[in-house]
């Protein structure tokens, strides 16, 4: 029998000068590439975001969510530990958990009532020893059936600073090594051990490839151009003091910026989105009060590849969870939070500033819009490519934001992992 020949580069992606400054549209439009991305980035060798410990404060609490396109359940068991199990019954494969949150003593699959502990261990199987009828025992599981061999798929869990990550890959490096010391420093800045207080959720479905959201937060070029509020009120503009930092693989990044120059006219304010005379009728939207934990920067946007964005924009803090749905669509779930030591005034301030962000935000609503329209452009011309050459064609940390280096970095990593 002939061996099956698997072509090495079935997709024939063409990379300009073998770099990543020009990204083929096909990486966004090809369904088969998407399946490989799920396997390579979401289902192995990467810690993916699951939630915040504050979402499951008490024993028995659970939250259903996803890693990539696989449904998982995060639980707090009686001993206080955080567990993540795959939402697929060991018996007939049913997604047994349909509630999105709640409190349970155990999980029971409704179909045949197989029951599991909150850690995912199989407890009982109805009619395991058969059913007695007219003096004989009918049915039952085979004698060698062992409950301990048929638990739920248990994921490896990492918690840090109240944030929960999980992986299907039990062999991979630690969460800390995965993030790397540079970006971990910015992670710890925001999640410094104080208990978190959930403020609520926003959920949006964006008709575009999931990577575009990573790229959006690795692109400091657009905020001072697309987002009038950012440039006009000095929240994010090209002349702000800023730094871009990556992990050693270029997969994660932090964009660090310090507010300045609000409504001052210069090169930057010549952009058409700058509105010199714009004044708020109600200035409370921007009632910004610096916090000690900032240590200076007024905004740090961290991308942890592939699954989450960590937002600090002045007093507004949130996690933004990327949940792919095929190559052309993803769900984007925002969890806004505060800290246990927030005063009522600070909570109110965080909530007011959240009007800038989210699916209707004065700033962020248009990010979803440009992603949708980018995807439309890719779909109509899949053989073409984007151009990401601001600041050159190389990849490296910078002390300014006039560059697309983080996008190039992400695709350097993507190419290495995908072998394309």
């Amino acid at each position: 029998m002939n061996e099956r020949v698997i072509p090495r580069e079935p997709h024939g992606l063409d990379w300009f000068q073998n770099g990543t400054s020009r990204i083929p549209f096909r990486v966004y439009t090809d369904a088969e590439l998407h399946t490989r991305e799920l396997e390579n980035f979401f289902y192995k060798n990467h810690w993916c975001y699951v939630g915040l410990e504050a979402e499951i404060p008490n024993p028995g609490d659970f939250k259903r969510t996803v890693i990539g396109e696989r449904s998982v359940v995060m639980t707090r068991s009686e001993d206080g530990s955080v567990n993540v199990v795959e939402n697929v019954c060991a018996h007939r494969g049913m997604q047994f958990c349909r509630q999105r949150h709640g409190n349970r003593k155990e999980f029971v699959c409704p179909y045949h009532q197989w029951s599991y502990t909150l850690k995912g261990d199989l407890q009982g199987v109805p009619f395991r020893r058969g059913v007695k009828q007219a003096g004989k025992v009918n049915g039952g599981m085979p004698a060698d059936f062992k409950t301990e061999e048929h638990g739920l798929n248990k994921l490896r869990v990492a918690t840090r600073g109240g944030v929960v990550f999980a992986t299907f890959d039990h062999a991979m490096e630690s969460f800390e090594d995965f993030v790397g010391s540079t970006v971990l420093g910015y992670f710890d800045r925001m999640f410094d051990g104080r208990k978190l207080k959930i403020l609520g959720y926003n959920r949006q479905r964006i008709p575009g490839n999931w990577k575009l959201m990573q790229e959006n937060i690795k692109d400091p070029y657009h905020p001072g151009l697309l987002h009038t509020w950012f440039v006009t009120f000095g929240l994010w503009r090209a002349d702000n003091k800023s730094e871009l930092k990556m992990d050693s693989h270029f997969r994660h990044a932090s964009m660090i910026s310090t507010r300045g120059n609000a409504q001052a006219a210069n090169e930057v304010s010549k952009v058409s989105s700058f509105k010199e005379t714009m004044k708020l009728h109600d200035a409370r939207f921007l009632d910004i009060v610096p916090e000690a934990w900032w240590n200076g920067p007024t905004a740090v946007m961290t991308t942890l590849f592939p699954s989450v964005i960590l937002q600090q924009q002045v007093n507004s803090v949130s996690t933004r969870h990327i949940q792919p749905r095929g190559n052309g669509e993803f769900d984007f779930v925002w969890t806004h939070f505060g800290y246990e030591d927030d005063t009522p005034e600070m909570t109110e301030r965080r909530l007011r500033q959240s009007n800038l962000f989210g699916p209707a935000g004065f700033v962020s609503a248009d990010d979803g819009e440009v992603i949708e329209l980018s995807q439309k452009g890719f779909e109509q011309k899949p053989e073409h490519r984007t151009l990401a050459e601001l600041g050159g064609r190389e990849v490296g940390d910078t002390d300014h934001m006039v560059t697309e280096t983080l996008i190039r970095g992400m695709y350097a990593y993507w190419r290495k992992v995908m072998g394309l």
Binding site: G200, D282, A365
Partner: protein, 160 residues
């Protein structure tokens, strides 16, 4: 409400609802703002947050000034794919009525039509209102749009 509301008042509530829907469907943001008193609250909030007691809203405005800022944002600063919206509002359920104001609810559906596209259900939910009498007729003191729709189809630009 136990006591019957005079027809005149009930009719004025229905008219306010209709005027509101007409304003937001006609992109008349000035008329939208004018449906509220100065010291008003307007919120668009997922049902999930509302029912679980989470304070976060998708939009939360606490003054007529904030509404004006949104109107300016829609017209001048928010980039978005253009769309029409069409509100279908159910009959108001009057919960209480006093000199202080009228508390009522009404179901709504918003249909979105993007240019060259089919019309689709954009947002479905329930208004929870407090309406007060002013020299210019009834106005909203509080309008909460509590939406069932689990996913926002990309973004919400215009008021619901």
């Amino acid at each position: 409400m136990s006591a019957a509301l005079e027809f005149e008042t009930y009719n004025a509530i229905v008219q306010l609802h209709a005027r509101y829907a007409s304003a937001v469907d006609a992109n008349d943001w000035g008329a939208w703002v004018d449906c509220f008193v100065d010291d008003c609250v307007y919120r668009i909030q997922p049902r999930e947050n509302f029912e679980r007691g989470f304070p976060l809203a998708t939009l939360s405005f606490e003054s007529k000034g904030m509404l004006k800022d949104r109107a300016y944002g829609i017209a001048e600063t928010l980039f978005h794919d253009p769309y029409y919206q069409r509100h279908i509002v159910g009959a108001p359920l009057i919960l209480s009525a006093s000199d202080a104001g009228i508390e009522c609810e009404a179901n709504y559906v918003v249909i979105r039509t993007k240019l060259s596209e089919l019309s689709t259900v954009f947002n479905a939910g329930r208004y929870i209102d407090t309406i007060v009498r002013t020299s210019e007729g009834l106005k909203f003191k509080l309008r909460q749009c509590i939406y069932d729709s689990e996913m926002i189809p990309n973004s919400i630009i215009y008021p619901i």
